[in-house]
């Protein structure tokens, strides 16, 4: 309505101010037209529903019919990515530093599709459980039990599977925890048993020497091993002539990474392998003299147990390191074939080449020093020039010494590492000296003397401390000794995996052979593990 009033006011004033408006007819026509338009507009506005809800038509009243939501059948498909059917569940457990993806490719192929030479079995697929490793072994075992008792038990019930038909397949620490769970399940008033058999790959059921050697609470040698490598291999005298090949391992444990950064310098690190979670609390219980390790290996399990243990070929260290690197990198080959981890030669070749390179560098530097000394001799009349050449010869000698030490590192790293894992024990006892005198250059011979002072001659003599040493070597998979992973009282079988290291044994062609034999029922005493193919 204000619009209408405004319009009227405007046009009422206009006639008095315009000299051309002499007739009243056009004015009346215009006023009438505007009045009519104004009335039409006001009616149009009042005709909107929101303007007068009371004029709206009412909805028809009556009962509301709710439709039931379409839910999946209660087969617990939510528990896993797939809901394969089967007669049993294989619960795959990773090792220390591992996760669900340690086993998931193999678990998937076992439940469905299979791979070349490995038929799928009638087992229900569940995501391999990732258990926590920030506590002791009992805490990890309780974590696994919680998973088995909830997800595992529910999935079993949905498939009408008796839980004691299920199998735990553990790698390394996972196998140890499986045996610990077996012992926990003796407490029937507390636990309900959730599996009826165990396959343990490379599990240190009698303790791991490596755990004690590397853990900060043990000998704490992991950091020292890396520091020694860094000091030796990052010597600037090696770098000057040729920048060495560098490798940076993204998955390196933070503690080791810190040691690398401190010793080698940021961005210039060479670390031959990654040790993940080597300082986790659970490792302490794997010390060979720890109560758990001492008891677990002596205990007769309540269920059928099969141990699969690896014995790696030499050089154990470089082969294991190759497989560790391959596992940590993108496993493209594993994506299509979960048993594709047979190759372990890469770092063996690398170490040999590095040894040869540093040997050659040392030889070149010594010859260069010899050439410089020749020049010093030629320049002897000009003493300053001679001294400069002699000084350069010293620098060449230092480079040769650094290269010698680097070559020795590549030569000895395998044996040093085997000491760390308990696969090599070397004891040296001092026993006098070797003596060699320069007055006998054409008939060089070393003879033993009790004291260095007993070694004397006209032209001077050289003595070398003489050691008697005893050497004991044991087969291993590069992490765990065969004697620890392959011996358990009451185990139905111990299966040797030749030429297989600790990392390979999850995904090698030998793994395929072991699992096929087991699930085919071809292992004597292991009928429990027989599982039909799809």
């Amino acid at each position: 309505m204000p619009v209408v009033l405004f319009n009227f006011k405007v046009f009422l004033i206009m006639p008095t101010s315009s000299p051309r408006t002499q007739s009243s007819k056009p004015i009346a026509l215009v006023v009438g037209l505007i009045a009519a338009l104004s009335l039409m507009l006001s009616w149009s506005a009042s005709a909107q529903p929101c303007s007068d809800p009371g004029t709206l038509p009412s909805l028809p009243s009556g009962p509301i019919a709710w439709e039931s939501p379409i839910l999946p059948a209660p087969n617990l498909s939510w528990a896993g990515k797939t809901a394969t059917t089967g007669y049993r569940i294989l619960h795959f457990l990773h090792g220390l530093g591992g996760s669900s993806d340690s086993w998931n490719l193999l678990a998937a192929r076992t439940a469905f599709q299979g791979s070349a030479g490995y038929p799928a079995r009638q087992v229900v697929y569940l995501n391999p459980h990732h258990y926590w490793q920030n506590g002791n072994a009992l805490a990890s075992a309780m974590d696994i039990d919680a998973y088995l008792s909830s997800v595992g038990a529910a999935a079993s019930a949905a498939q009408n599977i008796f839980v004691e038909d299920n199998i735990l397949v553990g790698h390394s620490y996972g196998g140890v925890l499986s045996l610990l769970l077996d012992s926990l399940y003796q407490h029937r008033y507390v636990f309900d048993r959730q599996f009826g058999g165990i396959i343990a790959f490379g599990s240190a059921v009698n303790g791991a020497y490596m755990a004690q050697a590397l853990h900060p609470s043990g000998d704490n040698l992991a950091v020292a091993f890396v520091e020694d490598a860094c000091i030796t291999l990052s010597n600037p005298r090696l770098w000057a002539p040729q920048f060495p090949a560098m490798r940076w391992i993204p998955g390196l444990d933070p503690l080791l990474r810190n040691a690398v950064d401190q010793t080698c310098g940021l961005g210039s690190s060479f670390v031959p392998f990654a040790l993940k979670k080597f300082n986790s609390p659970g490792m302490v219980e794997l010390f060979p003299n720890a109560p758990l390790a001492k008891r677990l290996g002596k205990r007769t399990p309540s269920v059928p147990v099969v141990l699969a243990y690896g014995v790696e070929d030499e050089p154990v260290f470089w082969r294991t390191a190759t497989s560790m690197l391959a596992t940590d990198s993108v496993g493209l080959a594993l994506a299509s074939n979960p048993f594709a981890m047979d190759a372990d030669q890469e770092l063996v070749t690398f170490a040999s080449q590095q040894f040869d390179r540093h040997e050659s560098q040392a030889s070149d530097a010594l010859q260069r020093a010899q050439n410089l000394r020749t020049w010093a001799w030629i320049l002897s009349p000009t003493l300053v020039g001679a001294l400069i050449a002699e000084w350069q010869a010293i620098q060449a000698e230092r480079e040769a010494a650094a290269a010698d030490k680097a070559a020795a590192w590549y030569l000895d790293a395998n044996n040093s590492y085997k000491q760390l894992i308990g696969a090599r024990s070397m004891t040296l006892n001092a026993n006098g000296f070797w003596c060699r005198c320069l007055d006998d250059p054409n008939n060089p011979s070393w003879f033993p003397v009790a004291n260095a002072s007993d070694c004397s001659g006209d032209d001077g003599c050289i003595t070398i401390p003489r050691y008697d040493y005893a050497l004991v070597e044991k087969p291993s998979d590069g992490v765990v000794l065969a004697e620890s992973a392959g011996q358990l009282q009451g185990a139905v079988a111990s299966i040797l995996m030749p030429g297989t290291n600790h990392q390979q044994m999850r995904n090698s062609s030998t793994t395929r052979l072991v699992l096929n034999r087991l699930m085919n029922g071809q292992v004597a005493g292991g009928a429990f593990f027989a599982t039909p193919t799809r």
Partner: protein, 280 residues
């Protein structure tokens, strides 16, 4: 001032040119045996050693046959062939030898002219050089570290008989160790630009030969590897050849030889040594 600076350079160039001009064909060979390892400063209980220091205590032996020669351009070259290597089995075979610039460790006089015996010369950074008189030795030293070269007469020259290197270090857990090596070199065999000084002589046994194996040896050169072994008849035609089978002395049984006079040729680097035998 500029002339003062350039004077030593002209002197150096003159010496270099004269040395180059005098370069003539020469060939020397020797076998080097090196013992290498770490050792404790004092005899001690090794139970405290870290694994890698324990491994380093083992003495490793390397044996190489080394040659030095002058090429047609007057350059002095050297190469070495590994005869005994500390390599582990898994390392495979050693790489093929490569040539590099290098002069033999020989001098016409020891010590150099103008050097005082038994008097340390400062080289910088704490290193000194001393020529010792008791044993003909050239010794570099710094603290507990030293590099010593023992010289011995070789014909009418001197050659390095032994090289001993000691570099001190401390282990990560604070023990004192030495990285030690000793290289002993057999007497150099060959000839120099001024004429034969100890000419190698090829020896064949038995001679005359029936169906027996030939024993091929080079006097004073046990342990040296030949790069080729050939048998030629009296007209110079090749009748038998075999690739290197190891170090001298060698046995060889060239077959199918008719009666007559034959010559065995041994190639050492760029040198050929020959000796004849009668085939019955």
């Amino acid at each position: 001032m500029k002339h003062a600076l350039l004077f030593p350079a002209w002197s150096l160039m003159a010496i270099t040119l004269s040395h180059s001009a005098s370069a003539q064909s020469s060939f020397w060979t020797a076998t080097e045996t090196t013992l290498r390892g770490s050792r404790l400063s004092d005899l001690a209980d090794t139970a405290y050693l870290l694994p890698w220091d324990l491994e380093a205590l083992k003495m490793r032996e390397t044996r190489t046959a080394r040659q030095w020669w002058t090429d047609p351009d007057g350059r002095e070259l050297t190469s070495s062939q590994v005869l005994l290597s500390p390599r582990e089995d898994w390392m495979g075979s050693p790489p093929a030898p490569a040539e590099q610039l290098g002069s033999p460790p020989m001098r016409s006089s020891i010590p150099p002219e103008g050097v005082r015996l038994d008097e340390a010369m400062e080289l910088g950074s704490g290193w000194t050089l001393t020529w010792r008189s008791a044993t003909p030795q050239q010794v570099y030293s710094k603290g507990d570290s030293s590099i010593a070269f023992s010289w011995r007469p070789s014909g009418n020259r001197w050659s390095v008989a032994a090289e001993e290197r000691i570099f001190s270090r401390s282990t990560l857990n604070g023990l004192c160790m030495q990285d030690w090596s000793l290289t002993e070199r057999s007497t150099l065999v060959g000839y120099g630009p001024s004429g034969a000084e100890s000419p190698p002589s090829l020896s064949l046994q038995p001679n005359p030969r029936g169906l027996q194996e030939l024993q091929v040896s080079l006097e004073g050169s046990a342990g040296i590897w030949p790069t080729a072994l050939r048998c030629v008849d009296s007209f110079g035609r090749l009748t038998a050849e075999q690739p290197p089978q190891g170090t001298l002395p060698l046995t060889w049984n060239p077959k199918g030889l008719t009666s007559g006079r034959y010559t065995i040729q041994i190639q050492l680097g760029n040198q050929t040594y020959a000796s004849s035998f009668i085939q019955l």
